[in-house]
């Protein structure tokens, strides 16, 4: 039951919206994938939860179109991260 309710609470929003969200969030600062999903969640006040299965495809699509660019950065914590920024 609750799972269903949770289901209904999630809205299906079109592709373009996710792209806009990403671009808007990157406006403030370049981020890597995980930080981006957290930022979207935070900025929307915990209403929008980005499905990571759609996040990475969207990121790569935008990268292919040339609207964002990516590069690898070494992080202090451990694994190296792929950071995206607006072009």
């Amino acid at each position: 039951m609750s799972a269903q309710k949770g289901y209904q609470n999630r809205t299906e929003i079109l592709q373009g919206t996710l792209d806009m969200l990403i671009l808007q969030t990157l406006q403030w600062a370049p981020r890597h994938g995980y930080a981006l999903s957290k930022a979207i969640r935070t900025n929307s006040g915990e209403i929008l939860k980005v499905d990571t299965g759609s996040l990475y495809p969207a990121l790569h699509r935008l990268e292919r179109k040339g609207w964002i660019a990516a590069e690898w950065k070494k992080s202090e914590v451990g694994p190296r991260l792929r950071v995206y920024r607006l072009t």
Partner: protein
Amino acid sequence: MEEVRGGAALASLSADMIREEAFTRGAFAVGQGAGGDFGSLESSEKRERSMRFAFRGRERRDRELQEEIQAHLTLAEREEMESGRTRKEAAFAARREFGNVTIAEETTRDMWGWRWLSDFFQDLRYAVRTFRQRPGFATVAILTLALGIGANSAAFGLVDSAFLHALPFHEPERLVHVWTTDAAGDLHTPSPAEYLALRKTSKSFEQVTGAGWIRVLYDNAQSSGQTLLGLVITTNWLPTLGIKPLLGRNFLDEEQISGRDAVVMLSHTCWRTRFHSDPNTIGRKINLDRRTVTIIGVLPQSLGPYYEDIDLFAPLVLDSYKENGDPRSGRVRVQIAARLRPGVTFDQARSETEVIAQQLREHRPTTDRSGHLVVEDFAETFRHPGPTRQNAQRGMWLTACAATLVLLIACANVASLLLARGVTRCKEVALRAALGCSRGRMVRQLLTESGLLFVCGGILGLMILQWSRDIITNVASGLLPGTYVQIDARVWTVTLGVSFLTALFFGLIPALLTTRVSLNDSLKGAAPIAAGGSQSRRPRNFLVVFQIALGMVLVVGFGLLFHSLRNVQSARIGYDPRNVLTARLRLPPTRYTEPSARARLMRDALDRARLLPAVESAGITGSLPMFGAESAQFKIDAPSPNTGPADAELYFVAVSPEYFATLKAPMLAGRPFDDEDNLTSKPVAIVNELFSKQYFPQSYPVGHHLAFADSRASWMEIVGVVSNFSQRNPEEDSRPLAYFPISQTLPTEWSMAVRVRASADFASSSQRLADWLRGVDPQLFWQFGSMQQDIHDSESLVLRRPIIVLLASFGGLALVLAIVGVFGVTSYSVSERTREIGIRVALGAVRVEIARLVFRETLTLAFAGLALGTFAAFGVTRFLPNGPIGWSGSGIFLYGVSRTDALTYGCAAVLLASVAVAASWIPAQRAMRVDPMVALRHE
């Protein structure tokens, strides 16, 4: 995968499909794509870059992506751990939060583009692997397709070279023929004077060329004296048409002078058949017209269909040509081909030639319509072939249709095989569907597999064609001289095109049927053969019926034409050709110019021939049977309602008194010619039976008169009526013919027919006769033969034989394919029904009953196919003409059989039914040997 991608295309922010995919999807997930750090590149550059990266950087991109996602998971894990979970729990939570890693990877890879290309290569690799596992299936399929597509390509190549190919001349739209007109205003080949005038004074043509026909005697070691047809051409003929010799060189200007013209070029056909395509032919010396000439070149094959009968090309020496040239239509002619100067239009050329013509015509009255020069488009001559060539062309189309039928049968075979194979892959298909593979993706993969088969078949077919090219060219040239098969770009294009189209068409239905599985049944392990079998049985049966029907059409077509051939060979020709020698003579123009000399020569020849003891009778004629006759306008004083004489166009032949007796063509009324009828006596004529029936239906032609339509011609008295006999072809319709005494016409070209006694040895008699006749005048050249050989070489039979050969080979191919098809289907059906057979045997069925079971199924299919094929054959044979043939060689006309000849259809049906039964013999044996114990445990 597709479903999720479809979802991602809508980019729902909720992943409502969480599939726990096994991480062992190596077989499916090798997707590559293009990646690329584009920055702000232009899109075209982007695409080019992505193409390159697609193949070089994909491994790197894959790794980076995995690394990226792994980093995400690590960070999420760390955050979870901060909220107090253990490492393991944190890892699971992070993963769960993320969703399906593999799908995310896949979807991202999709974004890189070029998904279809990577899919295609993946499918291709999979297909090759599958075929390597089952080489038998692949071999049979590829061989079958090779035969079908190869036959089709051969037919296309032939038809292409005969009709479809662009003219092999350089800029043919700038080439023209110039004709002159005769008294009736019809087009005629110009005279040498007109050619010279045009060449000297015309300004609108940049080149004016001339060509004339000659016949030469070719002497070599094997065959004494064959007459070859040749074209004498000016030096600029080849360059104007834009044709380069295949070997050797063109003539030089100095070789156009009499005495220096002992050079010759060969046509491709002549080089191929008489010199066996020997590359060292250049420089060889041969004997032509008792002269030694050197071969200096060979012309290319593409010229063949346009100058089909020409064997040799020699320089045109205008002076000697005017004297010695081949007197077609009684006067020497030069065919003019010219190339328009750049910028000159047809109309300008026309007006200029008209002016030149007027100058030549000077003193002729305006009522005389002869002598006008007409400019005509070069290709026009080739667009209106004579009736013989038209019929030969139709025969070629017939062959092409037969080839298409063979192709369809082959494709049906392979489709059947694919269907059978599809059934065994039931489980694999179900598993893939369960894992999320969309139907479209699977159909694409199956189409790739069948496409691979068809394309390999096509390529193998082309290889077979290349290997058997000479045989095919030889047979086809017999039908339509000059046609050939060449594996050039057009043939390649057509072959590949046909391969792809048939792959699509015949691979689609098996693909669709194979992918139509119900997941539950298949995965639960129900006997896959039972589950999917019934679904594919009906299409397979339909394919077999289709094959048998097409086979029936082919066999019926072949049967009807073969029957016609046999009928023509034994047709009533009206005379007895057995044991009759023929000796043909062409008098050189410089000798025997006096009529009395010619008369004396004929008499001497006849006397000499009669001296031989083996000779029964001998006669002379202007034109032997099977060689046609001339025609002219005549006036006949027939007792018709109108008082004036009737006008008719008649064919006529000159004969000697004993000619009819030699031929054993009986006189029906009146008397034959005798020695009294010569130049000095009254002109007489004999007519044939049909003439009598047509113009003298109630009365008696003997005693009446006929004359040439020329007003000054004298009336000839009809003194006899002879029975009809064939003059041009064994199957011709009789025409009214008139015969004149050869002693009154005295032509320069005549033939002798010598009947040898049946008891004598034909070969030695002919040798002796040859020696004797040469003794009359050693300088004359005789061509010896026999009447039966003449019938064998008549146009009719010469056209029919290659068609029969071609149809027989295609029919044979079709039968072989049908056997394979029926065998495949029947053996599959038997293995499907193994359980059922086992049960029957266990319940007490006898082996014979089992066999009967199998045969009954086959025969049902066969009968259905035969019925369908009979209807189809009725429709198709309407294109085989049945009507009156006229005089020209017919090739595809039916003779003596109706289109619905019961015997032919019956034989075809029996043949196909026995083929079907024979093909299902081995499966029936297998069925009979089924052990019930094994069968009942068989799954």
